[in-house]
């Protein structure tokens, strides 16, 4: 019987070996596949097991984390949700992340290998670290000025620092409190449904993700192309444009809203926003030259990120001359995001060199150790420095003597361009009021801020809407805030 007992024991040994081999299979060989299974909630649980890193404005956090004691433990909170929602986006346990919360998620949630003190190739730093911090380029004074200026009307404001490309203000209105989406459960689902079905679309980031017909503000692009191409050499010389201007190849006559546009100079045309002059200049510059300049300003770029994705601003690439004429004054199919038009103002203010806009100044570990800093980078040379200088003169003229007088600031040099873009069937929709501009403090070497404002003011009477009336005052208050010396964080 001894031999048989030994064999029974051997059988048990076989079972033991089978168990151990199987344990190694599940826990080591297949572990990565099982860990990565989308139905495995451990990834999610560990994501919310620690407080999420904060997003900073001028060194102060505008976000926070709240311990819920639930399975998904930490929930995102926002100190000033609606004001900064177009910057931060939301970080929801149910609906995911957007904007900076999304673009810098790896740092904020602690998964980024850059947060590890050990180099990534060491292989000794797996898993998650405490969430890092993300410092934005936003200045709260400008952000608040823009937010107050829009006062809940539909619209957007973007302010850039022309020399560096820093985004100083990024406001979309009406806004929402991203904190209501942070958690899980029926309240969050209700809030999500409410925000998504609201007629004002508060979750739409109008500054980055909505495109508007730029209207007369696009005339700066056309003027830059005309000056660079030497189609215009003297901005004060008459251009010989008839009023109204017959669109080439058609019998359609393009009228002007302004007076005195017949045979006007480029300076006069910019100051009073003559459609005829700029439409004709656009045709004379030609499609390829106009497109090249527009691209250098950022049009037709589908990959622009700040680091949040920016919607593509559009100008047609295959146009008949009459459509080219309309595109040159920002009508027809031309569309631009508010950020795009701020980039136009920024390029003029920056001597023709367009700095790539960015929203994240730097990232750091939870302990404050620097992880990364966004460098200044040139997006493109949009125009020659001499062209930029002449355009600045024309834009100053707009504010001092023309349609943009509402943007003027005592003791500072302000340049701008108004726009009132028509849209809708037969141009019957409520027009969009635009203002783009820049401001230079007296004595400063270069402009400190470039700004773009768009207001879709459905409540106002149609004839009262104009770039100079609705948008310019908002731009002025933002620029004023920018010219107050930066006290720093």
């Amino acid at each position: 019987m001894t031999a048989y007992i030994r064999r029974a024991a051997a059988l048990s040994l076989v079972l033991l070996v089978a168990l151990l081999a199987n344990a190694a299979r599940v826990q080591v060989l297949q572990a990565d596949r099982l860990d990565g299974n989308p139905a495995n909630r451990r990834t999610v649980l560990s994501r919310y097991a620690e407080p999420r890193g904060d997003i900073l404005v001028e060194g102060r956090p505008v976000t926070g984390s709240k311990d819920t004691g639930q399975l998904l433990r930490y929930e995102r909170t926002y100190t000033d949700g609606p004001l900064y929602a177009p910057v931060t986006g939301h970080a929801s346990q149910t609906y995911g992340t957007t904007l900076v919360e999304d673009a810098e998620d790896a740092v904020l949630s602690g998964t980024s290998p850059r947060l590890s003190p050990l180099p990534p190739w060491s292989g000794l730093a797996p898993g998650r670290r405490p969430g890092g911090r993300v410092a934005t380029t936003i200045r709260s004074a400008l952000q608040q000025a823009a937010y107050r200026g829009l006062a809940g009307r539909r619209g957007a404001v973007v302010a850039l620092e022309p020399s560096s490309g820093r985004v100083l203000a990024l406001v979309s209105s009406p806004s929402y409190d991203p904190g209501v989406l942070s958690g899980t459960g029926s309240e969050v689902a209700t809030a999500w449904a409410r925000l998504n079905t609201a007629p004002d679309r508060p979750m739409l980031n109008r500054a980055l993700r909505e495109t508007y017909p730029p209207g007369s503000t696009f005339k700066i692009v056309t003027a830059a192309a005309a000056l660079d191409a030497r189609v215009v050499t003297d901005v004060h010389a008459p251009t010989g444009t008839p009023d109204p201007y017959p669109l080439p190849g058609t019998r359609t006559l393009l009228p002007n809203e302004a007076n005195g546009c017949a045979d006007a100079s480029l300076a006069y045309a910019i100051r009073w926003s003559c459609n005829t002059v700029l439409a004709r200049l656009g045709v004379e510059v030609g499609q390829s030259r106009l497109l090249r300049t527009a691209r250098a300003f950022g049009f037709n770029d589908p990959d622009l990120r700040i680091p949040s994705r920016v919607a593509r601003s559009h100008i047609d690439t295959d146009m008949s001359p009459d459509r080219l004429a309309l595109s040159a004054i920002g009508q027809y199919d031309t569309r631009a995001t508010p950020l795009q038009m701020a980039m136009v103002a920024s390029a003029v203010a920056g001597d023709g060199e367009l700095a790539r806009p960015y929203l994240v100044e730097s990232t750091a570990t939870a302990g404050g150790g620097l992880v990364g800093r966004t460098p200044r980078r040139t997006y493109a040379r949009a125009m020659e420095p001499s062209t930029a200088r002449r355009l600045r003169e024309l834009m100053v003229d707009v504010v001092e003597r023309g349609s943009g007088s509402n943007a003027g600031i005592e003791g500072a040099e302000v340049g701008g361009k108004t726009g009132t873009a028509q849209h809708g069937m037969g141009n019957q929709g409520t027009p969009y009021a635009w203002f783009i501009g820049w401001a230079r403090a007296a004595g400063a070497a270069r402009p400190a801020v470039a700004v773009a404002v768009v207001v879709e003011d459905a409540a106002a009477r149609r004839e009262e809407i104009s770039g100079g009336g609705s948008a310019a005052p908002i731009a002025r208050s933002v620029m004023e805030a920018a010219l107050v010396p930066d006290r720093g964080p």
Binding site: L15, A23, V26, N37, N40
Partner: protein, 469 residues
């Protein structure tokens, strides 16, 4: 030793009792469990739980009770059995306590501690009162009758989670099938010990295989059929598999005929196929085993087995640490059938391997006692009890890790479940009793030949030892 011998025998070496070793190991087991308990508290709330001393004292009391009983009742028993059992029980309590933190409404650890105390009390009772395991041989038919009653009774109680294996009375619930395991092992051992010659050497020859005579085989097959039939009715596939395995192993050990294994495997295959194809509850388990992620693909979220596999995978090589895993995602039965997943996630492959080796040690010690004994009943009983442990660990561990279809069964000592813990302590008590008999030097007159080899090593190399000393 008596005058009858002309040449005096070589001086007898009293085999060491090794109770001191047992005591030291018991202290280690208690300390290990307290360490785990403190670790859970540190991981969860950053502080050592205030009742860690109380927990240690309780476990220490159990250890002391068992140890004193062994010193008094079975002084030559194997010194490893009790510490290993206590360590497994202590770790089980730690794991259940840890899972209790996830379910504040359902505190299972205190109840489990009470059951463990009852188990150790019964252990002490068996070790002290049952002076000779051969007494059990007399009660073979009583055992089988009791086993059948215990197996049948739950049919009259409502099914819990698809299996009719529970008796609920006055807030307490237990699984009588657990007790039936030991009783059936006693019966099989007694019956086969008495009839092994007949089973091995009679019967008609069919080609090369000698079929056993129906007369001796009849009762065994009948008992087996009844117990398996009852289990299929109760839908408890795991216990059914366990009984069948026990039956085949003991039959083989008793008769030494490989034909039994062939017949057994054939029967098992046919039975498994029939049950798997026809019984929906079991069929579902087989489908889960073949496609553990089917419910995810179907959009219903991960099933229990998938969650269990996720837990093991999350543990990796070294585990997340006690208290830091998410095995509570398994949900229902996380503390009982799936407790191994918590061990796998929080202690890792390293901890799991250690656990398996503890079980292997327990099983191996059981087989060694069987090898050391001389009486066929004792040998079969030890082999049977060790095999029960081995098969049970394999069936449940293989089930929760996707090696074989999942069957609801309790991991011995580790899992929540009163009947299981009590039964396991009785199993260990019987093994202690058997190993004590195996190692006790014969005290009687004329006992110059030991009733059993003093140590298992002596069995492996018998002539050398006596001569060398």
């Amino acid at each position: 030793m008596t005058a009858a011998t002309t040449h005096p025998p070589p001086p007898r070496v009293r085999p060491p009792k090794r109770r001191g070793v047992e005591f030291s190991l018991l202290c280690c087991a208690v300390l290990c469990s307290m360490y785990g308990y403190a670790g859970v508290g540190l991981a969860r709330s950053g502080a050592v739980p205030h009742d860690v001393a109380g927990y240690g004292a309780g476990l220490g009391l159990l250890a002391l009770t068992g140890h004193l009983a062994v010193r008094f009742g079975a002084p030559y028993a194997d010194p490893l059995l009790l510490p290993v059992a206590l360590l497994l029980n202590g770790l089980g309590l730690v794991l259940i306590y840890r899972l209790d933190l996830e379910t504040p409404a359902d505190q299972a650890a205190p109840t489990q501690l009470v059951w463990s105390a009852l188990g150790v009390a019964l252990f002490a009772l068996v070790v002290v009162c049952l002076r000779d395991h051969r007494l059990l041989q007399r009660y073979a038919y009583l055992s089988v009758a009791a086993a059948l009653v215990l197996l049948t009774v739950p049919i009259f109680f409502p099914a819990v989670n698809g299996a009719r294996i529970w008796i609920r009375a006055g807030g307490l619930s237990f699984q009588p099938g657990e007790f039936a395991k030991v009783l059936l092992a006693v019966f099989f051992a007694a019956y086969l010990a008495a009839n092994r010659t007949a089973l091995a050497h009679t019967g008609r020859r069919l080609w090369r295989v000698r079929l056993p005579a129906g007369r001796v085989l009849g009762p065994v097959v009948a008992v087996w059929l009844i117990s398996v039939g009852v289990l299929v009715l109760e839908r408890d596939l795991g216990t059914s598999l366990l009984f069948f395995g026990l039956f085949v192993v003991l039959l083989y050990v008793a008769t030494g005929r490989t034909g039994w294994i062939a017949v057994g495997l054939l029967l098992a295959g046919a039975g498994a196929w029939a049950v798997g194809a026809l019984e929906p509850h079991v069929h579902g388990r087989v489908e889960d085993w073949l496609h553990p992620f089917a419910s995810i693909e179907a959009g219903r979220g991960p099933g229990q087995l998938a969650q269990s596999l996720f837990a093991f995978a999350a543990g990796g090589m070294f585990g997340s640490g006690l208290g830091l895993g998410h095995s509570s995602l398994i949900g229902f039965a996380a503390k009982s059938d799936f407790i191994l997943a918590t061990a796998g996630e929080e202690l890792g492959l390293a901890g799991l391997t250690a656990l398996f080796l503890l079980y292997a040690l327990l099983v191996a010690r059981g087989y060694r006692s069987g090898l050391a004994l001389r009486d066929p009943f004792g040998r079969l009983l030890a082999t049977g009890l060790a095999s029960i442990l081995a098969l049970q660990v394999f069936v449940i561990a293989g089930g929760v890790m996707g090696l074989i279809p999942l069957t609801g069964m309790a991991m011995p000592f580790l899992a929540q479940g009163g009947s299981s813990v009590v039964t396991n302590w009785i199993t260990v008590a019987l093994l202690m009793r058997v190993s004590d008999s195996a190692r006790t030097p014969s005290p009687g007159p004329g006992g110059d030949v030991p009733a059993a080899e003093p140590d298992v090593t002596a069995v492996l190399v018998p002539p050398v030892r006596e001569g060398a000393r």
